[in-house]
């Protein structure tokens, strides 16, 4: 049986599943329940400066995007950092860490962008026995308007500066949580590294309006007739986050910088995907908010089963395994040729592949009077749309055309050698092939 014990920045937790800094980790009651359910660690909901805590709206805080059967695909929120006094949070963190020494407890922190503020608070929080810090440079609403959260995360110089202050103020690991509301994730990631951060965690939530109420003519969630953009999260954001994780993992300047992956992780498979793209562990929020803390049990059993099947004995066996296979478009092998294949045994004859291909792609699927759908190899460009719209998993697959065999679309045999855009004759910038 695979060992899920994961050490991230020297912090060991029984599994790589941490709860992200968010409503589920706002207080002792929740965190105790989370640990009892099996979560490997938590990032405590962001602590702010001492004094009167922030206040939240008293109307709805969340908006949602639903899929079929009202399955929650995306959630946004306009909640701020903890609205409970600092002292209360610190007392609770101390008690919890004492009772669960084997679990990771990270303090998320957001104070004004002043050296003293950061240097004063970190040692105080460290007294709780927490295992490390996560600097919240990501929150896209409310706090950003006060010069914190993503307002810092969007300026690489600030990230570097604050990270440096924090590293000077504590010996504990410092994680910088990145906002995705930027043009290129590498700039803030590199800045974090320059500032001495031990790791980055990403993504924080994405600026969003989930829906508009067509009666009141206001965005949801609506508070007294008005709405504002909130932070988007949940399964819908996973592709965006995965790309950002992969970019950091394969960028020479940040390669090797530990990453805590966040964004729509709902199942063990999501977690495994983040980890093979370079995340040393993962943080979860929306899945817990949707289904409760028990979801971690499926994540644990699923990851464990997959590791056993693959022969991995520890998580470090596969972390980063897919990073070498993430490349730029220009290096993709243009001599690789595939064709769609429809399994007639599995086909339920819905015709969605036909509609998609005929109306919006390459007219490469034929339909007979008795609803038999077949791929026309002389038209198929292997775009994969039919695979994606087919309701039956694995009914349509992409099959490689072996080298030497005729590609009926081009009328030419499939080349055996690798060839990409950089050397392609149609590329005016092509470098001569050696």
């Amino acid at each position: 049986m695979a060992d899920l014990t994961t050490t991230f920045l020297g912090i060991t937790s029984p599994n790589p599943f941490w709860l992200a800094s968010a409503p589920p980790t706002d207080k002792e009651y929740n965190v105790r329940r989370a640990f009892e359910a099996g979560w490997g660690g938590v990032v405590w909901k962001t602590l702010g400066t001492e004094g009167p805590p922030v206040v939240n709206v008293n109307g709805p805080r969340y908006g949602a995007i639903h899929g079929a059967d009202r399955r929650l695909l995306g959630l946004n929120n306009i909640e701020l950092i903890t609205d409970r006094p600092l002292e209360v949070n610190l007392e609770e963190m101390t008690r919890v860490k004492k009772d669960y020494p084997d679990r990771a407890l990270i303090a998320s922190v957001m104070v004004p962008c002043e050296e003293k503020a950061w240097k004063d608070i970190l040692p105080r929080i460290a007294e709780t026995g927490c295992d490390g810090f996560e600097l919240n440079f990501g929150c896209p609403h409310g706090m950003a308007e006060r010069g914190m959260g993503s307002a810092v995360g969007q300026v690489p110089e600030y990230i570097e500066m604050v990270a440096r202050w924090c590293k000077e103020a504590t010996d504990l690991p410092v994680i910088v949580k990145l906002t995705p509301n930027i043009t290129n994730i590498l700039y803030p990631a590199e800045a974090a590294k320059r500032g001495g951060a031990d790791a980055v965690s990403l993504i924080n939530t994405i600026n969003s309006i989930t829906s508009v109420n067509l009666d009141s003519m206001a965005p949801e969630p609506t508070i007294d007739g008005k709405g504002t953009h909130g932070g988007y999260c949940g399964p819908a954001v996973k592709p965006i986050a995965l790309n950002m994780v992969a970019e950091i993992a394969r960028n020479p300047a940040t390669h090797g910088l530990p990453i805590s992956g966040i964004g729509g992780i709902t199942t063990w498979r999501d977690a495994a995907e983040y980890m093979v793209l370079g995340a040393g562990n993962v943080q979860v929020c929306t899945a817990a908010m949707t289904y409760g803390f028990k979801v971690v049990q499926e994540m644990i059993s699923g990851l464990s089963q997959w590791m056993d099947e693959k022969g991995y004995t520890k998580t470090s066996d596969f972390i980063g395994s897919a990073v070498p296979n993430v490349t730029d478009w220009q290096y993709l092998n243009l001599n690789y040729v595939a064709k769609a294949r429809i399994s007639q045994d599995d086909c339920i004859k819905c015709g969605r592949c036909y509609a998609a291909c005929e109306d919006t792609s390459h007219q490469a699927i034929s339909m007979s009077a008795d609803r038999v759908f077949e791929v026309k190899d002389d038209e198929c460009v292997a775009c994969n749309l039919c695979v994606n719209v087919c309701p039956v998993e694995n009914c349509i697959t992409m099959e490689q055309v072996p080298a030497g065999q005729m590609d009926e679309r081009t009328g030419k045999p499939v080349p055996a050698d690798y060839g990409n855009w950089t050397t392609h004759p149609n590329n005016p910038m092509a470098t001569a092939a050696e």
Partner: protein
């Protein structure tokens, strides 16, 4: 109430009022908004959808289900009514298990089709108390006579009125609706739905319904041809095939009359039924009669069918419904005699066999005790006007629904083609109306 299910003979009130009410409530409770949403989510929005092809009225099923799932059930209803103005009744009585739902690709995928019939009901129910969704075109100046206010006649009348023609519907019965009102099982059309639907349909305007007008009695085809620019015949099959057994004994009657009486009864407790009932036949009428006899409190109900179960015209779903209601279905038996002196006491059945492709009644017989016998061995056209040619006992029509008589169209059960289903009658009425319109306007 003194009668019990065990009382011999034919008696009313075998079950208490509340039990009857429960027995005759909606066969399928309507979907609520949440159930409809969940059911609608299962539709794959197939290309050139098989369900749509399977629907005799070609309702755009994927479109109306998508409209339900996006919160516009009224638009969904209009999609349905555009093709089938009796979409509400069809949602209740269509054998969807052999039509749209049988074709649903979800059957192949996981053996469970999208609940198309129930979703259609959900959408159409929402429209019933709203303003009629269609408006009439400008008056054409033409008038059309429609004979029969059943599904075919109503469908034709509505389409003709919508196209701007003046329509008079003649029906022999006191109420409009045809089989919707007098024929189908009560638990499929509860709360007076048939009459509500007729009233809603007539809101289009331009349609006058004259009841108590039977072709051959109060009205004649010649007269109608004289007075109207076109005639549509949709009077159904008013004749009932005779069993030729025991018609002299009390307790022997045809299933059609039993069902009609039950449908028109103001109190189900007043409908008499036997303790032991035998129904002869293998179609929907046999099932409807048998199940309703059981629901009224008959202790034993047996449906006897002369061929094998595969040959039954009643769908598998209907057969299962009968069995689940406690009705016994005996196949490969044919009635050969009745017992009783004045009142029926038993039905003698003989086993049948198929020899050289022909059904043969064997000498091996047995007698079922019975105090009531319903025959449900089919209906036939009666009183067909001489001017129209018949084929196989029905009015012969061409692909446009036109009969052999100029200016006379026909559709529904009385005409050739179709499967004697409500939904095919609706389609035929609609299509004949379109052809009538083409012919009338072409001549203008």
């Amino acid at each position: 109430m003194t009668t019990t299910p065990r009382e011999n003979g034919i008696a009313a009130g075998r079950l208490a009022g509340p039990v009857l009410q429960e027995n005759f409530c909606d066969l399928h409770a309507p979907l609520d908004a949440h159930e409809a949403k969940v059911a609608a989510d299962r539709c794959y929005f197939c290309h050139d959808a098989p369900c749509m092809t399977a629907c005799p009225t070609s309702i755009d099923i994927p479109l109306f289900i998508r409209q339900i799932s996006t919160g516009t059930a009224e638009a969904a209803a209009k999609t349905i009514f555009t093709q089938n103005i009796l979409g509400g009744m069809c949602a209740r009585v269509c054998p969807t298990e052999t039509l749209c739902e049988e074709a649903c690709v979800r059957n192949t995928a996981e053996g469970q089709p999208v609940e198309i019939g129930q979703l259609q009901r959900y959408a159409t129910d929402r429209m019933l108390d709203r303003a009629h969704p269609f408006a009439r075109a400008e008056e054409t100046g033409f008038s059309v006579a429609v004979v029969g206010a059943g599904p075919a006649g109503l469908s034709a009348a509505h389409r003709l009125a919508m196209l701007g023609h003046q329509v008079v519907v003649f029906d022999a019965r006191p109420k409009a609706g045809g089989l919707n009102e007098y024929g189908i099982a009560a638990y499929k059309s509860t709360d007076g739905f048939a009459q509500k639907e007729v009233a809603w349909l007539l809101e289009i305007g331009g349609i006058e319904v004259r009841n108590g007008q039977k072709l051959g009695d109060q009205i004649t085809l010649d007269g109608l041809r004289e007075d109207f620019d076109a005639v549509f015949l949709g009077m159904g099959l008013a004749g009932v095939n005779a069993l030729g057994l025991g018609e002299d004994k009390s307790g022997v009657m045809n299933a059609v009359d039993f069902i009609a009486g039950l449908r028109q009864a103001s109190d189900l407790g007043s409908v008499p039924v036997g303790r032991r009932v035998v129904v002869i036949g293998g179609g929907m009428t046999a099932i409807d009669a048998g199940v309703q006899a059981k629901l009224l409190g008959a202790e034993e109900v047996t449906i006897a069918y002369r061929r094998g179960q595969q040959a039954m015209a009643a769908s598998e779903f209907e057969q299962d419904l009968a069995k689940a209601s406690g009705v016994r279905i005996l196949c490969n038996v044919a009635p050969v005699g009745v017992t009783g002196n004045g009142s029926l006491t038993g039905v003698t059945l003989a086993y049948t066999d198929t020899q050289n492709g022909k059904l043969v009644v064997t000498d091996e017989t047995f007698t079922l005790p019975a105090d009531q016998l319903f025959s449900a061995i089919g209906q036939s056209l009666s009183g067909a006007p001489e001017a129209v040619t018949l084929e196989g006992g029905k009015i012969k029509v061409d692909e446009n629904g036109h009969t052999s008589a100029k200016g006379v169209w026909a559709g529904g059960d009385c005409a050739t083609g179709g499967d004697d289903l409500t939904v095919t009658a609706v389609a035929e009425g609609r299509d004949a109306a379109m052809n009538i319109h083409t012919v009338l306007m072409g001549g203008k």
